[in-house]
Symmetry: D4
Subunit: 161 residues, 8 copies
């Protein structure tokens, strides 16, 4: 039905990308989790991307670090929205990852979120899907309300109320 492909360039990105998975599960959105490298398995990547729509995927979340080409390379091969997650690298907290992902040339956009913010990538995917699936919008509004309530709770506690 509504399905999101979560791709990462290396299994070292798994801890970060699992947070996207958890959000999708929470919202009842199907997903598949893949390790596909733009550099080490370019053919497998290409094949997977070319079958995205046939396999029912509507959005791709791609996480990668350092010279992070994965999201851009995927975006070049599909017109499905691609959300890029810059994974924190060993160089200036992922400045390389961030710039490699966000600074895409005109014509091939990648929807970039903050460094390691795979949770936000999932929420963004759900916001996109909610344009089409009304129930997701309801869940999003509820999710926001809970977030709001949690901050209000902490604020009250701090104020001793």
């Amino acid at each position: 039905m509504r399905k999101v492909m979560i791709v990462m360039g290396s299994d070292s990105d798994l801890d970060v990308m699992n947070k996207a998975k958890e959000v999708l599960e929470e919202f009842g959105v199907e997903y598949e989790l893949r390790i596909l490298s733009a550099h080490r398995t370019p053919k497998q990547l290409m094949e997977a991307v070319s079958n995205l729509e046939k396999n029912g995927f509507e959005i791709v979340i791609a996480g990668a670090g350092a010279a992070a080409h994965l999201p851009g390379v995927i975006a070049a091969l599909t017109v499905l929205p691609v959300i890029g997650v810059p994974v924190k690298s060993d160089f200036n907290d992922g400045l390389d990852s961030l710039l490699s992902i966000v600074q895409m040339p005109n014509g091939i956009p990648v929807a970039t979120v903050g460094v390691n913010r795979s949770k936000n990538a999932a929420l963004l995917a759900i916001q996109m899907l909610s344009l089409k699936y009304e129930d997701l919008k309801e869940k999003l509004l509820e999710y926001r309300k809970n977030m709001e309530a949690s901050v209000i709770e902490k604020d009250k506690k701090l104020r001793g109320k």
Copy 2:
């Protein structure tokens, strides 16, 4: 039907944001162009955002420079997808704009594109809309084909063929 709100924080961002407008026009997607500042007209901004869905908008493209709060502030007030365009500022080519937009906290994502890449923001909006509107997907594929053809043409010319 399908309508995109293009917001900018200042009229000095107009040249940059007009490129988003042109792409939307090319794809036959309705839009409205607004100047609404998170800092100078917070009330007008809030009102506009709270009426987005009622007025038929499905996506917001927000461009801002320097301490660029506009996209994030809008994202906090709607669950519609918000696409952020970091506008080139006077400080390190918009490093401030980029970080102010992309580094959103967990819970409230902004889909960020490259500095001044409002064209990509529009294309990303259309990719999102094409999940729902089949004809846009066709146009996107055609757009890509034209882009490809233009590069091939230049390549041929360079090779003297």
Copy 3:
């Protein structure tokens, strides 16, 4: 009488912001400590800010990290002086926090202190208040004298005198 609002965007900022609290206590300046998020509780934030003067507040200290919009959003809603504390984030020691706070557009200033320097934020608030409350100026001069004495003491000890 003289009262400072200390706001932070998340309870993870509490350790940093508590240092502002301690300085205000030391100077006998009333304060309230709040968690109010520009992104997760925008309505609560707005309400709190619109009641600042009615509730006797004269200055706001606002701390936030990453895409740190909180100080700027507050500054847009009040003409009370707003002091911004960039809280150290996971990205380049808070470069994102610093730029998101200090690079405000013309018209809406935020008085920014160094990364994590909430202690300085409190002292700055007291310096502002001392324009009006003479006794605070006395205390500031004494505070400086103590600081000076402490450095002199360490210098003496180092020189073996």
Copy 4:
């Protein structure tokens, strides 16, 4: 009555700092404009700062570029609030100026505004003064209203209304 000292480290900063002057004039706040260098005229600087209060000054606005020590050195010599304006230098658009001013050690704060934002420095000074001088608060609210109106006007024009 209410008087602001505007200091700059070099006459090359004059164009930037004049914008602070203009805002103070607009609000009817007295000021004096000085060139005093922490490095080239340290004695003159010290003398001027030690006489600030005697001469009726309540706030200092200090602008400097590159290794911009002026605001911090002044802040070390007075408990009046010191507002620092990082002036754009030849190195990364004033990254050196910004860090030299904002990263003050605990104990001696400088209220820092954005690079070249001397206009905001003046507005911040007025916000501080308005804690004491009621009429300035009125003017500030009016200033904001005009700013708001100007943005609304531009927004209307853009929308063809």
Copy 5:
């Protein structure tokens, strides 16, 4: 015989990459100049790269700017040495280009030269080829001698000798 492929991602990189061409011509090394985009013509790129060896190419020089994926994507598809030229972009003089090219993951290296240093890319290609083609080593030594002589000449002139 010995042939170098010079690829660029966009015709806007032509001025920069022509300097590589000129050096290769000077050394009598055959080359082909191509515009092939990792994002806009991925299929053409892949085809060209898969035919490199069949067509007698021994080295690839690839120049690209911003999110510069071209050199890395080529390097993933061939074991011929790939030399990457970060082309100066609109963001911090090509910091994005540099990091996108040099920070390749383990397994797939790109031999990176300085920003816009396509001349050095060509010289590096010739140094590599000279491992195999003795005459190129001779020419390199002569090239260096001329460079040396030119600096010595300028030094003499400056010293008035």
Copy 6:
């Protein structure tokens, strides 16, 4: 026959550079490991470099950190290809090392790999040597196949297949 010189500026770089050694061993390429400092043993360095070809070396891999002059100084003294490894320093994860190595002036290139990527330096050396030694090309293709297989394995495991 085919021999690579691995040079480092200090024994503190040994852990990083040993990874280059291991790759060369895996590919059956001879190497020598040296500590030679551009600053502390300039004469020894010069002597070693001037004897490179006589001693059968075909490529140099040079690793250094901070003001990392070693690769560039070697490149100035030989026309053999020099591969530079920026070693992570105490300053911004080796930004100083990277820029000191990659930003060589026109005429004297250094083939730069990512920070601490000595493994890639060795692979790059082997790619260069494989222009001349056919068997190395075979091994490189096998190495890539193994790398590919390892990623595919991890991908399968993740998908529970």
Copy 7:
């Protein structure tokens, strides 16, 4: 006779600055170690600097972190050579310290060494003094020889010789 003043802005800089002390001791150069803050003890600093020559000092080594004004403020008050040591801060490994020290305006130089390189500051002081004191030049040459020998020894050991 020949005496160096080592000043630091805070006792938290002591570990770093002690390395300068040890080098001076090794070379038999007299020194005094002081804690004097440009911000917390400006008067004590000024007094100490104005008495430098009277007390036989010939060179000042000044270390400070963050908004590191100490070396520049001292340099403004004496024509003795001032060597600045940027002490590693909590912000980007002392980028603030480095820029605050090295980017001095024309007229008032500070001889800056690398971040935390107080050892080099001491060696630089000795190099300056050796212009006047012949015996120090001898010791410097010996120091270099030992350094060279130590690297040669490590190189030999690594080569198994």
Copy 8:
């Protein structure tokens, strides 16, 4: 008698380095101006440096841009004080030049001044020489007095006095 060697890596640095020359002339200090490249004329450089003392030089001022190895390479070959001038490059206003010069390893210091601050390099050289040549100290004090007077003059003019 007292002589300073001014070296630059390329004739493109001449405009910047001429400012050092002018200051030395103003102070009556002999100098020689040389173009010597660490990369293009390493032998000439070495020869010149090894003859420095024999030819009566007491200090070296070395300016270079980008991967600026010149000052460090000279410092490795002499115990005379070496003053490094980072020349503004095409990359981030000379960030590469600055880091390549200032971040020297322990043992071989370079006295670094601000980007393009060759004027300060000359003043620093004179401050060093004035340890030995009393008359230079007098001239330095006068130079400072003139600088002070010039700022005071501008201050007076600005104040309309």
